[in-house]
């Protein structure tokens, strides 16, 4: 934390969070040029990939060299290396295993969970975010997490001086959340998800819980997992809780909204983000749609170097209204989520509000069917609340009409009970795209 630790200060690490851009870029360049030879010497995957491309760290003397010459890796390359060499770390590990304290794993949303080795870092990667929520020393903060994947979340709370309250990410925890909220008055919550918000809406009345009262003490809550649908947004607005949207930056870190709610900040002193043509490697302009490519600047255990995330984003490095100089992204979709029907691009967020506009499907649980990218027909699998209000044909027609109004394409709609979709995914999200 910076030199001033006053509770009323605006930023957790003011010097770093507001570092002038030219200094931030110099810091990045210095960190990158130190990181590259370190990783090349130690990471078997990076060395193999660079050697195949005829690139050596001595060739990389600037950011421009890096962007022009360094080959990218992606999740498939890591999995292939893992399978080929029987290396659970996919060739990324840069330290002797005896220096690890933990091996967690990714969610596995897009395939097998990928092991993520951890060293004995003292970093508090989410402290800046929790401070921005309004959490201060002496406060309590709810860790309402899908799964335990390391110390970073509760340690970040503790390093601010806040006390974590531990909860499982399930609606069955609502009575306990209400009880501890009354007793401890927590000021922050990490994190809410769409399915949980819909479950609170459905179950709170039966539990004697009034959501507006429940969330009264909270200054803010982090939202993550999958895009926030319009219906869930409307509910949290009614409950009076300020959401700070949060997304992964590849597997290298996270990006989170500030109180301006104008894009998700990633921390440029820790992660280098490039914004490239999804079908190529050239940079695209700030504000245009591009694929996020990330490089870890500070991770010395298993750093990712030019890792293609598959995530389509808008991006800006312009100074934010909050005063921070670090860049911001706006997540759009995963590259593999897009379908093109008669030349028209459709991603899940394009049809989300339409699905939610029909009362029987207002939970917004649906999947885009994507056997391949180019399709003759738009196909959707849509979950309905049981018992079904109305006839199947009536609901199907209503969804199809709403989707047509939204994207100009008449879809084929398959209706299923929403429980069928919920059981396909982890608690915080369902797969929004299915092959069949």
């Amino acid at each position: 934390m910076g030199s001033t630790t006053a509770t009323e200060q605006r930023y957790f690490e003011p010097d770093l969070e507001t570092l002038p851009r030219h200094e931030l870029e110099r810091l990045q360049a210095d960190a990158l040029l130190e990181q590259l030879p370190y990783v090349y010497e130690r990471s078997a995957l990076v060395r193999e990939t660079w050697d195949a491309a005829g690139v050596h760290p001595r060739d990389i003397r600037s950011m421009a060299d890096f962007s022009a010459r360094v080959p990218c890796i992606d999740k498939d390359a890591i999995r292939r290396f893992r399978d080929r060499h029987g290396d659970p770390y996919g060739g990324l590990l840069c330290v002797p295993e005896r220096e690890l304290i933990a091996i967690y794993s990714t969610s596995g949303t897009t395939g097998d969970p990928t092991p993520t080795p951890q060293g004995a870092s003292k970093a508090s990667p989410l402290a800046r975010e929790f401070w921005e929520l309004g959490v201060r020393p002496g406060d309590h903060m709810v860790m309402f997490l899908f799964t335990f994947r390391g110390v970073s979340v509760y340690r970040s709370m503790q390093d601010i001086g806040a006390v974590p309250l531990f909860f499982d990410h399930t609606p069955t925890e609502l009575p306990r959340l209400a009880d501890l909220t009354r007793r401890f008055g927590p000021t922050g919550l990490y994190l809410l998800s769409g399915p949980l918000i819909m479950a609170i809406d459905a179950l709170a009345p039966t539990m004697g819980i009034e959501p507006k009262e429940l969330f009264g003490p909270y200054r803010g809550a982090v939202y993550g997992g999958e895009p926030l649908g319009p219906r869930a947004r409307q509910l949290v607005d009614e409950w009076g809780i300020e959401l700070f949207m949060h997304t992964a930056v590849g597997d290298a870190g996270a990006a989170t909204e500030c109180a301006e709610h104008d894009g998700y900040h990633w921390w440029e002193d820790q992660i280098l983000v490039e914004h490239v043509d999804p079908d190529g490697a050239g940079a695209v302009a700030d504000g245009a749609r591009g694929e996020m490519v990330v490089t870890s600047l500070t991770d010395r255990v298993a750093p990712l170097i030019r890792y293609r995330t598959d995530d389509l984003v808008h991006l800006t490095r312009a100074r934010c209204g909050c005063g921070r100089t670090h860049g911001r992204i706006w997540p759009l979709a995963r590259k593999t989520d897009e379908v093109v029907v008669h030349g028209r691009s459709v991603v899940p967020t394009d049809v989300w509000a339409a699905v939610e506009s029909v009362p029987a499907t207002s939970s917004g649980f649906f999947q885009l069917i994507r056997p391949q990218r180019e399709l003759d027909r738009l196909r959707l699998r849509v979950g309905y609340r049981t018992p079904l209000a109305g006839t199947e044909a009536g609901v199907r027609d209503a969804v199809a009409a709403a989707v047509f109004d939204a994207v100009g394409l008449e879809p084929d709609v398959e209706l299923v009970p929403e429980a069928e979709l919920l059981k396909l995914g982890p608690p915080q999200k369902i797969p929004r795209v299915a092959r069949s």
Binding site: R98, A102, S105, P115, F148, V163
Partner: protein
């Protein structure tokens, strides 16, 4: 206790419902030391890969074990004690070649079976398997020899060898059996009220010397009250 002295607030189950489990920094330090003694009795050492199966709501119980593993140079991995996340347990056991799986429960066994995965086949290669009371009998019936890992209210009981009984840190906790039910109270000065708390577990207490050398009381015949042995 003021918030600044608290490490965190977890929870534990009683037949009467969930109880808030505040843990001070000093409590956490004592629990980490106790976890270290439990790991000693399992002979878990530097370099061992250990999979701890648990829930976020169990952090007050489990993080002391995470930290005791780190302190001895063992390598921690984690999976959720839920049916949905059960395949992660199978994947990590296979990928990492773990030496111990601690805290596996019936929900994980159910989740594996629902995916068509035989839990016994997953766990058979693991030298040390410590299972919750709802999973012990199922694993034994499948031919394994699991140790007992039980969350007895706020305390964690860990068996040192099959059938020897699950040790509880008596520097922190007072144990008794009332009407066949294990009851746990606070012996030390802790952030948690003194209790006692009913645990929903049946067990008897064994205070005879243990072959592992630990002097703590042991829980023998641990099971869930109302749950028949399966």
């Amino acid at each position: 206790m003021s918030a600044s002295l608290l490490w965190g607030v977890g929870t534990f189950a009683t037949p009467e419902g969930a109880v808030a489990f505040p843990v001070s920094a000093a409590d956490h330090e004592a629990d980490t030391a106790a976890a270290g003694r439990a790991l000693d009795s399992l002979a878990i050492a530097a370099g061992d890969r250990v999979l701890v199966v648990g829930l976020v709501s169990e952090c007050a119980h489990l993080v002391p074990f995470h930290e005791a593993l780190r302190d001895r140079g063992a390598i921690l991995s984690g999976a959720d004690a839920t049916p949905f996340d059960a395949p992660r347990t199978a994947k990590l056991v296979g990928q990492l070649g773990v030496r111990a799986v601690l805290g596996v429960n019936a929900a994980v066994l159910d989740g594996l079976e629902s995916e068509g995965i035989d839990p016994a086949a997953v766990l058979a290669p693991v030298p040390i398997v410590a299972a919750r009371p709802d999973a012990v009998a199922r694993l034994r019936a499948a031919g394994l020899a699991p140790l007992v890992w039980a969350h007895a209210g706020p305390a964690v009981a860990v068996e040192c060898a099959p059938g020897a009984g699950a040790h509880v840190d008596e520097q922190q906790w007072v144990l008794d059996v009332e009407d066949g039910q294990l009851v746990v109270g606070v012996r030390a000065t802790r952030a948690l009220d003194h209790g006692p708390f009913r645990t929903g577990l049946r067990a008897s207490l064994d205070r005879t010397p243990c072959a592992c050398g630990r002097a703590d009381v042991r829980l023998v015949g641990v099971g869930l009250i109302g749950m028949a042995e399966r």
